[in-house]
Amino acid sequence: MPDQNGYSADEMMTIAAARKLRNGAVCFVGIGLPSAAANVARLTHAPDVVLIYESGPIATKPSVLPLSIGDGELSETAETVVSIPEMFSYWLQGGRIDVGFLGAAQIDRFANINTTVIGNYRKPKTRLPGAGGAPEIAASSKEVLITLRHNKRAFVQKLDFVTSGGYFNGGNSRELMGLPGRGPTAVITDLGILTPDIQTKELTLTSLHPGVSIQQVIEATGWPLRIAPDVGTTPPPSETELQVLRDLNARTARAHAGQA
């Protein structure tokens, strides 16, 4: 729902995330929020972005957002479709991915993420879907973008389970563990944009979406959040960006109404 700004917080999030994806990048796309952002990028400033989904489609150009990671729309509009073992070995592990675009259920201050379980692994409070491709997307992509909604259930002091590594304990701990890619470069939420400190790798608020206060972000974060001294304001969605996103969502809703 658009608020008084004429756009919703989710729309701002998706568009801010889309802007992080540069034209020509080869992007391994997670389903859900990352998929929406990656396709908005492709339909706006990044027409030559190469979208790859873990189900096998390479350079896909879906006209509607996929509901599942392997929708027919993805394979029909792809340059080719490879098998799952090939996708993970030759393409992801092979070092061919510029940007891994991930969502998360929980994230910590060093951009480690949890998509496995809330509570105790053996006796969970909430059993989540699990890792899927995320640990190796987070490890092998040259860089990682993460997008998720900002609240204290998601932005936690300590993860219940580390599914996929960001910067672990910060500093150079990621390099020491031998992960090939450089790690998360931005976390885009419905409140703002966090980027890792160049030294400590701790996530730092560097941009606020229009109308959001620093206090709001602090209160939605489960640890004492670092704020950049020069925290900026995210440019609001342009008319084109909003139009593209809304058209995409409308096409998607029509397509996914299904045949019931």
Binding site: I31, G32, E54, S55, G56, P57, P66, L67, S68, I69, G70, D71, G72, L74, S75, E76, V81, S83, I84, P85, M87, F88, S89, L92, Q93, N112, T116, Y121, K123, P124, K125, T126, R127, L128, P129, G130, A131, G132, G133, A134, P135, E136, A139, S140, F161, V162, T163, S164, G165, F168, R174, M177, G178, L179, P180, H256, A257, G258, Q259, A260
Partner: protein, 290 residues
């Protein structure tokens, strides 16, 4: 010494009867596309128990098998209702041991893909740059780490997956039992080649496959049985045949959320029908269009 070992063309009921036994380790593969739903239903109908079920992306059909009490262990890397949310029967089994405890052996996709490829290759294990910094190896003792004998690098090692039986759904087979798959082909070829036995349900059996060059073909002699089951991937899709029934995926959330509504659904639509064709009629328009 060698007979012509072509796949048998069987009904799905016959194939499950012959190749899926209580206690079996079984993979029903399909990566959102071509999910062998009809085969899963038939296993519930025939009342198999104590199955170890393997799949990278367990979804509705595994939720049904688990909720129906067929399963004692799940080996997987992502379990959910794609685009919708949780698998409530899977969660109820994990969180509350209902209808029985469910052992989990949990992986990431890259590890399972490597393990299937190792199985298809008759290797005891596969290697990958994987699980670095993830908590998964703490809870899955079958993920190990080895050193490269050339560079000393540390790599993950995973044991090969070798199911007793793999079941997949494909677009078509010819009358000899050669199978053609296209579109999102997932890990199906590896799952079949890694297994001792395999069943392939297909949309249609045709005189000639007419496969394009370098197509994904499973020759008849690597398949145990081929069963024609039109619409057999519903509510998943079969590229070139019918689309994914997203509405059914969404409706599954409500059906499966409570034990009672789930059990009523299983009674009515699975145990109350004699085969997939009757299931499709009883479940109504959505399935009938598949």
């Amino acid at each position: 010494m060698y007979d012509v070992k072509l796949a048998s063309i069987l009904t799905l009921g016959e194939a499950i009867q012959e190749f899926v036994h209580d206690g079996a380790t079984m993979a029903l593969e399909g990566f959102t596309h071509l999910i062998p739903s009809a085969a899963g239903h038939e296993i519930i109908r025939q009342g198999r128990r104590n199955l170890t079920i393997i799949r990278m992306t367990p979804d509705l059909i595994y939720d049904q098998l688990i909720g129906a009490g067929c399963v004692s262990k799940l080996i997987f890397s992502w379990g959910g209702n794609p685009g919708v949310g949780s698998l409530h029967r899977l969660r109820d089994a994990v969180e509350n041991d209902w209808p029985r405890p469910l052992e989990l052996e949990e992986n990431a996709h890259a590890g399972m893909a490597a393990a299937y490829a190792a199985g298809a290759s008759n290797l005891p294990f596969g290697i990958l740059r994987g699980y670095l910094g993830s908590d998964l190896p703490k809870y899955n003792q079958r993920i190990k780490f080895i050193e490269c004998p050339f560079t000393g690098e540390r790599l993950a090692a995973v044991p090969a997956i070798r199911p007793d039986v793999t079941i997949i759904h494909a677009q078509k087979a010819d009358r000899k039992g050669n199978v053609l798959i296209w579109g999102v082909v997932g890990v199906q070829k590896e799952a079949v080649l890694a297994a001792q036995r395999s069943i392939v349900t297909v949309e249609e059996i045709v005189d000639k496959l007419d496969s394009p060059p370098n197509a994904v073909v499973l020759p008849s002699w690597v398949v145990s049985a081929v069963c024609e089951v039109k619409g057999g991937a519903f509510p998943s899709y079969a590229q070139g045949y019918y689309a994914r029934n997203n509405a059914f995926y969404k409706s599954w959330d409500a059906i499966s959320r409570e034990r009672e509504s789930f059990q009523a659904w299983i009674e009515r639509y699975i145990l109350g029908t004699k085969d997939f064709s009757e299931f499709r009629q009883s479940v109504g328009g959505a399935a009938a269009n598949a």
